[in-house]
Symmetry: C2
């Protein structure tokens, strides 16, 4: 035994000598019902402690007002913020939010997506796992006419809504800022180039240098430095160059930037005077390091809200040709002490 019997609309109908359909109409606030009857039903329902069975209602109506989310990790600053923003919107609309994490594994992601499809959710929101694999599972979502919204890390080939940070823009602004602060040899810590977000950041770096007439030097671009440890390692090597950089843009993450800072501190290289440091993401800790770290805010909570609003707006005026729109969230440079050697 688990549940005790819940009151159903039949229980109410019987008590009031009404038809179940009338009870249903009263509860759903239909206009095809007498005001007095409605009041009576509502009163009785409250007395009998009635709660609608959402599963039955959804089955009959053929839709499930829930949004499913699949992210690599729930407890990562960026993702938990996106989810928080999304929840805000979905809750307001009376929608549920079901959450899965892929742990960066493709197989886990597939399982999660399939579970959501079985639930007949009205929308799936996803940021794909780092582990590569086919995207049949996502194609399946589209085939079933379930809305699919990709964000941040997306499968580019797939024609779906995409909500992205304008990574090129963010990187571009960071590098322009460094140039304006008088840095002349700006190194780049790159992320894995299979992920488009890292390719775009590299493009932004190059665009800024070109615009200001600086050379693009391969010796100053360091591949695959997307953890604190790899950032530190990259920094050690870069600073050992015959002609070392005077600024390092850790385009991968603030964690990499933290690795840069630690190496600089250990070597007694003063920041920002001799070495400028810029990260990416505006993790909370960047504010409290010494010196505080310049970085790029991605407006993650706002991004979550945008995703939610996109879904609900599209539900209203559904236009097939509008299915592949890309929404860009414009990131913002947060200037802090690690790059500030001129007064602003």
């Amino acid at each position: 035994m688990k549940r005790q019997k819940r009151t159903t609309i039949y229980d109410i109908a019987q008590k009031l000598s009404l038809a179940a359909s009338s009870v249903s109409r009263a509860l759903s606030d239909s206009n095809k019902i007498n005001a007095e009857t409605k009041a009576l039903v509502l009163k009785t329902a409250a007395e009998m402690n009635y709660q609608q069975n959402a599963m039955a209602s959804n089955l009959r109506k053929g839709n499930n007002p829930t949004i499913g989310v699949v992210v690599p990790r729930i407890n990562q600053y960026f993702f938990s913020n996106v989810i928080a923003g999304l929840e805000e919107v979905t809750f307001k609309q009376g929608y549920n939010l079901v959450i899965c994490q892929s742990n960066e594994l493709h197989a886990r992601e597939v399982e999660g997506v399939n579970a959501l499809v079985n639930q007949n959710v009205s929308c799936i929101v996803i940021s794909i796992a780092a582990e590569k694999g086919s995207f049949d599972h996502l194609q399946q979502v589209l085939d079933r006419n379930i809305q699919l919204i990709q964000f941040d890390r997306v499968v580019e080939e797939l024609e779906t809504f995409k909500v992205l940070n304008n990574n090129k823009q963010g990187a571009y602004e960071a590098v322009v800022h460094l140039i304006e602060q008088g840095y002349r040899r700006i190194a780049l810590l790159e992320g894995p180039q299979e992920l488009h977000i890292f390719r775009e950041r590299k493009e932004g770096y190059i665009a800024a240098l070109q615009e200001y007439g600086f050379p693009i030097l391969s010796e100053l671009m360091y591949a695959n430095a997307w953890t604190k440890e790899l950032g530190a390692q990259a920094t050690t090597q870069l600073l050992d160059l015959p002609n070392p950089p005077d600024a390092i843009f850790a385009s991968t993450s603030d964690f990499a930037a933290l690795g840069v800072l630690e190496v600089a501190n250990n070597k007694g290289i003063p920041t920002p005077e001799a070495l400028g440091i810029c990260g990416y993401s505006n993790e909370p800790f960047t504010e409290i390091t010494s010196p505080s770290i310049t970085t790029i805010d991605q407006f993650s909570v706002e991004m979550g809200r945008k995703i939610g609003n996109l879904h609900f707006r599209e539900m209203e005026n559904f236009s097939p040709e509008g299915k592949t729109k890309t929404l860009n969230v414009r990131p913002k440079l947060i200037v802090r002490n690690s790059t500030l050697r001129k007064l602003q």
Copy 2:
């Protein structure tokens, strides 16, 4: 129009000239079905791209394999970790996880809980909002025989499962550590005493002092210092005492401890030599401040896993008299430089 027609078991049955019930048996891997028939059904189902309608199945079976979670904020380090741990377990069991945030508001919490009750979820996991209110909504959950598991911030009067950090133990160990490091006047930053977690931490502080024969001095206990700003303010006042403390235990949070550290740094008071500082929660930033901050780890991911396991274990051997068990997660002191003035 939203969804196109999905294949149902009737479509499969028709194609194979079978009864729907046989198709159902084959798909649910029943033993009351011929092996050949089963293989044929499975093959055909795959060809026809069949996906079970979870709503129909759940409705018929009278249960919904999902767990609902209500927390003050999804994007808070502690809570997102608990959710991550919980998701790990629920996913393994093929359960869904539905998430609501109360934003610390009682009314929002009530709405969230009711939505989950309507869904007929099999378990609700909750950490209550700071805003006080009645707990009729939680009583309602129990009345409907839905399992209720409270964690961290709980309604003590309510007889439910509770998963708690052993806050008294954590605080006790921190203060003992401070005493062993030679600190003699240890101040306490308290949280709001309406919340039991903060009362318990105070008890741990007092117990440690008593055990070592130290006086309990009200001048060294500072109420309501649970943000960085309030922590800083408290520190300024404490250090202005005629006989100031030589250590401050910010029992409320690491953020308060950060406030303490900043005031100490600004006043040129060396940490840990002249002032020991200990926080609570092991936020990521405590590792990277200068000096790094001693704190208490709450094993939040592990706590989430414990909650999940509790639910699934109890489902099996359901014993009414075991319904009010309390599980304590033992916290762990993380010793860092902010309190380390002796070699260990």
